[in-house]
Amino acid sequence: VSEPTSDVAHDVVIAGAGIVGAACADECARRGLRVAVIERDIVGSGATAAGMGHIVVMDDSDAQFALTRYSQRLWQDLRPQLPDDVEYEQCGTIWVAADEEEMAEVWRKHDCYKKRGVPTEILDAQTLKRLEPNLRDGMAGGLLVPEDGVLYPPCAARFLLERAQQRGAELHLGASVAEIGEGHVRLTDGSEIRAEVIVNAGGASAPELTLGIEIKKRKGHLVITDRYPGFLRHQLVELGYLKSAHSLRSDSVAFNVQPRRTGQILIGSSRQYGAEHTEVDNDVLARMLRRAQEYMPGLATMSTLRVWTGFRAATPDKLPLIGPWPQDKSVFLATGHEGLGITTSLGTAKILVDLITGAKPEIPAEPYLPSRATKECTHA
């Protein structure tokens, strides 16, 4: 950032106070930047409130691995400072293999994680059954990733933003951004804020402010049960999830369940393109719950308290957009995290602020730069 001119009140203005915007505000404030955050709703009310809060290492690509692992380490460092209501629990993930074909994926994943220094444990059928007795009989086994964890995303976002505010960040709630660009943020009430850098952290709504971003809304459903302490101990994800999550076109559901500290069970997951409304889709919900019951029959008799939906910000190459937007030198992006935004919010914030201030990011930023998307666009 160049020396701010006298009439520029902010170094950075962030549009969006989801967990990504909150983490970026926190990192800006920590490094002494004068930052303001604008949020039309409440903190953590978009995809943040519809995310499971699974802090997970993923290995779909080298770049995805690098960002999720980097971010997971940042969460672990932050853990002693997290307030109780963030409910961080290092419960571990078990990737569940239903058959021998999926067991081969367990071995591949194990080798991949081992090479990169992530501890894992291969579980045979008996060990899996001992760790999670409520899985149905006949599972082939699984892969335990003990350093994965869970947290409660809205409270995590609030914590990050409050910490930013303690360091001087401004938060404007109930203000809607109409337009950003060339160092200006124009709100829908006609007022303007000037800033050296404007960060679009608008999640699935980011294309409304920055035309031409390749982000599609990918709808998801979540269900939460009443309290059943002890029923579930780890975050369980079917390995078939990889097949369904990779499909770009069709609607898909997968078995993905999470134990909350209260004893409640959070049940996912569904993925839909082309669904614009927040209403619960009963067909998709029924498929999702059937899938969950195929893995854990005991879920069938449980009482559920709430069903809700949200929109992931999905990019074509499954990687977020972090860094300068090539078409306007005052605009930076921090969006496109799809289903990994809770995990990768902290790594995103570090990389983004490194790029803003000209520091060298701790992991290579190239795979996440928005310029890679426009390149693809031009060549397509």
Partner: protein, 54 residues
């Protein structure tokens, strides 16, 4: 059960059946191992195991 507590709320308060028609969820008990059953909506059967909070 009228007037008696059948469960303890997460806030530590004794709770008992109120509406008797499956709406208020105050009559929840563990029936045959299933937690959070609305006891006012389930017919008693011989051998049924009903557990309330102490």
């Amino acid at each position: 059960m009228a007037g008696q507590a059948c469960r303890i709320s997460t806030g530590g308060e004794p709770r008992g059946p109120l509406c008797g028609m499956g709406i208020c969820f105050e009559c929840r008990a563990t029936i045959n191992g299933n937690a959070h059953c609305r006891s006012c909506q389930i017919l008693c059967e011989p051998g049924m195991e009903v557990t309330t909070d102490e």
